[in-house]
């Protein structure tokens, strides 16, 4: 094989600490290399053209590009060599940017290391073979996990695009966090007025099947052909017949149930519909509080239900759905702020979270939209907002900025003045992050028009003083300690990944960061893809996001799914294992260890042999490292290819 080597400067990204010309010169001495050069931006159009020209001019059979990580541009260059008529697998990359030039400044060592990496790549390339993908048919249905605003958007866009959509929502209603909000920034329009109709659309769309109060139990398969096991949790109410009339709620004697929808500002009944606009508007029983389920006595709801849908014997149900793509929109949860002992750790009733305050502001909330202190029901005069509670704080393991608290705090300060014109709001902040259209103007309005007193500094302590709370903070601009007598303290609690996010990621086989947020395919260029084909991200499951960003990502994910499904068949990755039938002794160890069931036993002239089903094989190579005699080899990562890399690096 005649090999051409292209060593990229990446502007100064590589060239600054790697002598690319020297690397190219060294490469010319390697076996098989007939052409080597250094180029300014190999990925640019002229850079790619240079490769195409060189292939033609030097009759190259393979190309090595030493540049950035293959995760960045392997696809790009594979297309380039394909353009010149080469099979795209006759290409290798040496990562001399992320793994060399960006992690050290020693030019001599870096150059030396780059030469090694190029040598490794050429040795591997010498053993590469042309590979050809197989085609397989796909199931054009999509699963949306999570029914918040991002999931709703993705579902509606997919359904409008003609796809069958299956939506699975953990709680008994869709709407997510947005449904809990009173108003939205920076327009201060009513949250349920803009979200409500879309929720109804989900319920009424002929292409959407909604499983509320359900969870993902198991995911099998791969892009184009996933098989999903959905657990429909027992609601003890037959939803087919439940009309959502709410009589059961009126009559239920157990009125101490946890009201998660209202962020535990109040209590609800054991049988409940979370809120009047819930979709689906169906009742469910909370077994932890239902006297009938706990003690076998009561049964009032069954007696009063006009459609007779109460079923105390109901069990969880499992349903299997087949889809070709998955959009994950599982959102976020609030940081558990009670780790802040200095803010009372949850001991003071008048220290509440921003989302609790939101429920209080909402006309459909437990206080009917009246701001009242939880301790005594009085209207507060001084309301103190503390920002960055569980954000930008390493000491509680949350060093990241949640990003939207500055905005909702400004909104809540404005709403406070609207509700209680005599009140005074104080906001302790570190920096105001208002980087969106009309965002900064909005925070300015909170100060200029609504007289919100912004104090730059964190709060060190809250403690009760009489019937007030003394908030002790700093005003770093004045350079001193300040105290505020507060009637109510609202904590702008940060966002964290939703409970169970990592378990779901394991089922989806996607990566997540150390905080449990899902990893996108590329931070800039693949914001809604994951590294698992056919699985996409929407909304805050990928990182904290405000409503416009979540909706934008929901639509983007939908576009990705629609794009994927625009073909009737997908090409399988040819980097799969194949069995050398002569060498196989039929011991079945590969079959035993394959995680995908991609290897089957076949009869070959009366002998047992293994055979790989190419469209099922995912290319992990466990079989190859299991087979003692190496009869099954993972294409593009064969034993000989890896050994050649080892030999290239370790020359005794």
């Amino acid at each position: 094989m005649k090999i051409g080597v292209f060593v990229c400067h990446c502007g100064s990204n590589i060239e600054a600490t790697v002598d690319t010309a020297a690397v190219a010169a060294a490469a010319r001495e390697f076996p098989g290399v007939v052409f080597a050069t250094d180029t300014m931006y190999t990925c640019s159009e002229p850079g790619q053209d240079e490769i195409v020209d060189a292939i033609k001019e030097h009759n190259l059979g393979g190309v090595v590009v030493a540049s950035c990580t293959p995760r960045m541009h392997e696809q790009t260059f594979r297309r380039t060599v394909e353009r010149a008529g080469l099979n795209k697998y006759l290409f290798e990359m040496a990562n001399i940017r992320e793994h060399v030039s960006w992690i050290g400044k020693d030019r001599e060592a870096n150059t030396n290391k780059s030469v090694d990496l190029v040598r490794m790549a050429t040795e591997k390339l010498l053993r590469n073979r042309a590979l050809h993908p197989k085609k397989f048919t796909i199931n054009k249905r999509v699963l949306i996990i999570g029914g918040g605003v991002a999931g709703i958007q993705a579902a509606l866009d997919c359904a409008d695009g003609g796809l069958e959509v299956v939506m699975v929502e953990k709680t008994s209603t869709i709407g997510g966090k947005m449904a809990k909000l009173d108003k939205t920034f920076p327009t201060v329009d009513c949250s349920s007025c803009i979200l409500g109709p879309r929720m109804v659309d989900v319920a009424q769309h002929p292409n959407i099947t909604l499983y509320a109060y359900s969870e993902i139990e198991e995911i099998k398969g791969y892009v184009g052909n996933f098989e999903i096991k959905v657990k429909k949790k027992a609601t003890y109410v037959d939803w087919k017949n439940c009309t959502g009339c709410g009589i059961c709620m009126e009559k239920c004697p157990s009125k101490k149930a946890t009201d998660t929808f209202n962020e535990e500002i109040g209590k609800t009944t054991a049988i409940n519909i979370p809120f009047p606009q819930a979709i689906p508007k169906k009742a469910k029983i909370d077994p932890a509080f239902c006297t009938m389920l706990k003690k076998g006595k009561c049964g009032i709801c069954a007696k009063v239900c006009p459609s007779g849908c109460i079923d105390y014997e109901m069990k969880d149900e499992f349903i299997t759905e087949k889809v070709g793509a998955i959009v994950t929109a599982t959102g976020f949860d609030l940081f558990d702020w009670t780790v802040y002992g200095e803010y009372g750790g949850g001991r003071y009733p008048d220290v509440i979270t921003s989302l609790q305050y939101e429920r209080m502001l909402s006309a459909s909330g437990p206080t009917g939209g009246h701001i009242k202190r939880p301790s005594d029901g009085k209207e507060p005069k001084n309301v103190v907002f503390i920002q960055c509670v569980g954000s930008r704080d390493k000491s509680v393991g949350r060093p990241y900025c949640t990003g939207f608290c500055c905005m909702y705090t400004a909104k809540q300060a404005i709403l406070t003045k609207d509700h209680l014109p005599q009140s005074q709001s104080y906001v302790f902040y570190m920096d105001i992050r208002a980087t969106g259209k009309l965002y900064d103007e909005f925070t300015r309005r909170a100060m200029e028009e609504y007289d919100t007193n912004y104090i730059r500094g964190r709060v060190s302590m809250i403690y009760p003083k009489g019937d007030k709370l003394l908030v002790r903070g700093a005003d770093t601009l004045m350079g001193t300690q300040v105290e505020v007598d507060a009637d109510l303290v609202v904590l702008a609690v940060g966002a964290e990944s939703s409970a169970g996010a990592s378990e779901l990621a394991e089922k989806l086989r996607i990566s997540y960061d150390s905080y449990g947020f899902y990893m996108e395919g590329h931070p800039k260029l693949k914001p809604v893809e994951t590294n698992t084909a056919g699985v996409y991200l929407a909304g805050a499951c990928q990182g904290p996001k405000d409503i416009p960003s979540s909706v934008g990502q929901g639509s983007a994910a939908a576009a990705k799914v629609l794009g994927l499904f625009s073909k009737d068949q997908l090409e399988s990755d040819p980097q799969v294992s194949i069995v050398d039938i002569k060498r196989c002794i039929g011991c079945g160890k590969c079959i035993q260890t394959c995680p995908f069931g991609a290897i089957k036993e076949i009869d070959f002239r009366g002998m047992v042999k293994a055979d790989v089903i190419e469209t099922i094989c995912q290319g992990c190579g466990i079989c190859t490292s299991t087979c003692p005699q190496g009869a099954v080899q993972l294409q593009h990562a064969t034993d000989n290819q890896i050994l050649s890399e080892v030999n290239a690096l370790c020359q005794f």
Partner: protein, 186 residues
């Protein structure tokens, strides 16, 4: 107010020394002010602790080491306990005091005189001799009325002794101080 040139007034040696002696990284501080917010001594400080942090970060040696605040910090640890960036601020205050002593700043404050009297009591007796300490402090400050009012209450309670308790190893303790002096002189 003083206008300063941010690069020419930056004392990099000072920053390095503080970081080395305290084991803390000054750039972790993002000036949230939570240390100042919790500091019970802010009332007495001439420069609040978050600004001490900022000035130190900015290499403003003179201003920092001259600050009275250094001598009013009681190491109550509330800054350290609550710093979102887990900076041991109290330790930095300690280190700044060490430097101020070495470089001859802040020698007039009453707190420092008290601390010095305390240590000389330990040096001489191996343990603190409370009455001796008070007498020593008074003789250095001339504040004769210090706690004189407490005498009548305290005397009958058997809490006041006019002789230090005897300990055998007091020479050992004294040697610690002597060696420390020698080592510091090196």
């Amino acid at each position: 107010m003083k206008v300063i040139n941010i690069n020419s007034s930056y004392n990099s040696e000072f920053v390095k020394e503080v970081e080395e002696e305290s084991g803390q990284k000054l750039n972790l501080c993002y000036q949230c002010g939570k240390c100042t917010a919790g500091c019970p001594y802010t009332d007495e400080y001439d420069i609040c602790v978050s600004q001490i942090m900022r000035l130190t970060q900015a290499g403003q040696k003179e201003t920092v080491l001259k600050a009275n605040s250094l001598w009013l910090c009681a190491t109550c640890e509330s800054c350290t306990a609550r710093c979102p960036n887990q900076i041991d601020v109290a330790r930095i205050m300690d280190v700044l005091r060490h430097m101020a002593r070495r470089e001859g700043y802040g020698g007039t404050g009453r707190v420092k005189t008290f601390w010095d009297s305390f240590l000389s009591s330990v040096k001489n007796n191996g343990r603190v001799f409370e009455v001796g300490l008070l007498v020593n402090y008074i003789s250095h400050t001339g504040r004769f009325w210090t706690d004189i009012d407490l005498g009548p209450t305290m005397l009958p309670k058997g809490k006041i002794h006019f002789k230090p308790t005897e300990m055998q190893g007091k020479k050992e303790v004294e040697k610690i101080f002597m060696r420390f002096k020698e080592e510091s002189a090196k």
